[in-house]
Symmetry: C2
Subunit: 512 residues, 2 copies
């Protein structure tokens, strides 16, 4: 899988490249969908044991609190409701539903230029979360996150090469009505980027009006159903092993409306999931298998992402922790389970516990991001901009994530081994009668763009040059870039006629 040439991913990036950078698309060293899988924290035998234990848990423990509709779908499919009310899943049912599940989901972009094909070990990175704060790097402060911040995040994602999708990373806390918040979230994300977007609905009856808006944006219901550019992140379980009743109803609405769903199980290892990495993966796997049965009982083959998102915990304090090595292992182990089942999967990586984009943030964001990529995780959620153990979102950090993820993707691309890269002939020429170095060889010059990821913000100057350049500060560079991006007219904005139509139907809080 490391020997293939990276695939072409379409014209949008190419157009952008021709504007902003010297690279044509075929020269780009990295792109969305590179294949990972060289890192395997679990052996095949260990994967099998986790699978068997998850099936045991589904058969013996099952899940409580399914909504009435869910009980009907699930028991109709073959699940068994016990006297304790819990729904239990015979092994054969799980296996049957895995056979029916959609194994190759495409998450569409609004403009068709950044579609993500989720299968195998293809890797994509993006934002996600429900932060309630914005990080103000200039003031060294935290403040409430607003709808405008969410829109700005989408606009920034739109122009970053290595952030491939924009799932809502924060909550618009300036909108108190939940319905209006959900609808404005859809609006603010959709008109900020043409990349695939994700959202999360708080109540089932918010879904139909949101779908109405999405159908308008798509140019009709059929158009949206054909190419749904938004997916719904569904916290369908309250770990351990309970369905989230309302969220299940939301999920049913999304399935009916043609929206792909992320089956999100977000247990916290040591609180709502076992504290061990293996145990937390077992429980998340069991819960997501239950979700997969549910989705396919509602509609066989509906696009769903296996969202095992176990989170870490600082057991000394009971507080959430996202930046640890344990977290990186949780996520990478989950990626192997997705591959075992052959279903598209996602998990959380790349977030930090640090409050600011400092050195801690750097090491934490890279650790789980690169391990997630190497493990071949299809969807790396929360991969950019996330701080304070998911409580804070930072635009500058999002911008710097383009470098972090770029480097991680270079690692995912791996080592190509062929006659040209092994370079025996070149070594011979250089050493025997040649110049004694490789600086100007055709091979070096010919590959200097397509083999190497050059950082945008990372500084590689010598101490002398650095001093001569006025000792540039990484964060100040990101602030300047943010201002430049947000100062431009967004390429993703809606056509004015469409925008007016939406604003006529919905109470849009974002100024036109």
């Amino acid at each position: 899988m490391n020997e293939q040439t990276p695939r072409r991913s379409g014209g949008r990036a190419a157009r952008r490249a021709s504007r902003a950078a010297p690279l044509t698309e075929d020269l780009r060293p990295i792109r969305a969908g590179l294949e990972g899988g060289t890192y395997k924290p679990l052996t095949d035998a260990q994967i099998q044991r986790i699978h068997d234990t998850a099936l045991d848990a589904l058969e013996q423990i099952g899940l409580a609190d399914a909504p009435e509709s869910g009980v009907a779908y699930l028991t109709e499919a073959g699940a068994i409701q016990g006297e304790d009310g819990r729904i239990r899943f015979p092994r054969a049912l799980v296996e049957d539903m895995l056979a029916k599940a959609n194994r190759s989901v495409t998450l569409c972009s609004r403009d068709g230029q950044n579609d993500m094909e989720l299968s195998g070990t293809r890797v994509h990175y993006g934002t996600a979360g429900a932060a309630v704060h914005m990080v103000d790097v200039t003031g060294n402060e935290y403040r409430e996150s607003l709808l405008q911040d969410l829109h700005d995040a989408a606009r920034i994602v739109d122009v970053l090469d290595n952030v491939h999708f924009c799932q809502r990373p924060m909550v618009a806390r300036d909108i108190t009505d939940n319905m209006e918040m959900d609808l404005n979230t859809v609006y603010a994300a959709s008109c900020g980027t043409t990349k695939h977007i994700g959202t999360s609905f708080t109540e089932p009856h918010h879904v139909p009006p949101a779908l109405e808006m999405l159908y308008m944006i798509a140019g009709g219901e059929d158009k949206f159903r054909e190419r749904p550019f938004m997916s719904n992140s569904n916290c369908f379980v309250v770990p351990p092993m309970k369905f989230a009743t309302e969220s299940c109803q939301v999920m049913e609405e999304c399935i009916k409306g043609g929206m792909p769903v992320l089956l999100l199980s977000a247990g916290m290892a040591g609180a709502t999931a076992p504290s061990t990495v293996a145990g937390a993966i077992v429980q998340a796997t069991a819960e997501c298998l239950a979700g997969l049965v549910y989705v396919n009982a509602v509609k066989a083959g509906h696009p769903a992402i296996f969202g095992t998102w176990p989170f870490g915990l600082d057991l000394r304090t009971g507080a959430m922790s996202i930046g640890s090595g344990e977290q990186a292992l949780l996520t990478a182990g989950c990626a192997q389970m997705h591959q075992f089942y052959g279903v598209p999967g996602g998990a959380a990586a790349g977030a930090s516990d640090s409050k600011m984009p400092d050195m801690q943030a750097g090491w934490e964001q890279m650790c789980s991001n690169v391990m997630a990529g190497l493990s071949g995780l299809n969807m790396v959620y929360e991969a950019a901009g996330m701080h304070a153990s998911l409580l804070g979102f930072c635009h500058e950090s999002l911008i710097l994530a383009d470098d972090i993820i770029g480097q991680a993707l270079r690692c995912v691309r791996g080592i190509e081994v062929d006659d040209e890269t092994l370079a025996l002939d070149q070594i011979k020429e250089v050493c025997m009668g040649g110049p004694g170095h490789y600086l100007g060889t055709d091979q070096t010059l010919g590959r200097m763009q397509r083999d190497h990821v050059y950082p945008i913000f990372g500084d590689r100057t010598s101490p002398k040059e650095w001093a001569e350049n006025g000792k540039p500060d990484l964060i100040e560079k990101a602030v300047a870039r943010k201002e430049a991006i947000l100062g431009e007219r967004s390429a993703a904005r809606f056509d004015p006629v469409l925008d007016a139509e939406i604003r006529a139907k919905f109470n849009i809080h974002l100024s036109a």
Copy 2:
């Protein structure tokens, strides 16, 4: 390899733990020598091709510039000197010498408490390099590195749990005489830490007096030969494919004196090695195989480390670059070659191009450090404190590396899968009639120390707590820790009688 219980590593860390932390040795979640190998950037077939190409290079191209003594050793062993003066190595010779090579090297500590057993995929992290600057984080400046800085670095390494050895990371630029610089480097490192130390001699005639000092410190030549606590980092090649004449003579002296040698091939991909990752690994492998033949021709079985250290280059500027994804791949690929040959190996990871310990430094240092560990590299050199593409060393960054490497080691330890960690019984108890959470279970409490690495400097507080704590700054915390460490009396200092004896024989520049 992930299922084993981490091994006990001895009393020093235990004593320190009882002083400074609540963990007894058997509870420590991580330690030196954890086994990696879950990350394999190269397939078996690719490893074989790299091996075959390296053998072709040795047979067809060979190495120039061997010293007279080396020509004698090598041709006596079966190498062939061509009319062009190059020494070529028949395959059978390389294979014979690999069979004779020492496959399980122990790098000793001075006090016997921190020995490193290099074999298989056992991972150790430490300092190394030849920086000429110190990073002054408070003044945002670079200045020349001094002997005292080197001694202070050794003292800091001595108290960091996750930095396992102290190879000289910087050059004492306040000593102009090369002989005195080499001897003072040995002194300053040796009396700063009882962990294994590494140095590098500039000329062959510096080795005998240095050995005299080391024999004094060890309490006799026999004692040093039995447990050599210092190894020599030998840049025995000038890539591409030339022996470094003087350094080879240094190596011969070290071998005679009983000092383990690091066979260091430091090609720069795109300048002194092919620009491709695979090609740079081929050349480094060929060069180190030549070095291995050399060492074993001088003395069969002499402890040697296979030091394939290919470095990255920014091809746009021709400047060294160490923080890239390409660098992380170069190093991880080399680790697989060491494992293929079954010889102890080392390479460079964990250094940054950034001038200061900022977010860039964090993401760069983590990327290659964690990938090196996961790949099972025995000796991760330059893993702590290294900035400005190896030109600058930073004490504060060294201190923070304890967190970075700690987290990387947690990832190396991996995921244990057994009945207890799979936790089916626990899930059952918690979900069916139990409390519905895992916060207070015996299993959670029983494993909260031995499963989890808690950062020392990394901040996991909520934004509210963070503000209440006065928004602590990571770098300021590291500065304070540095001052505390250096303000204490060093546990590694020499006995006063020994110290006086050394000072009577050698011109020691460090004040007593």
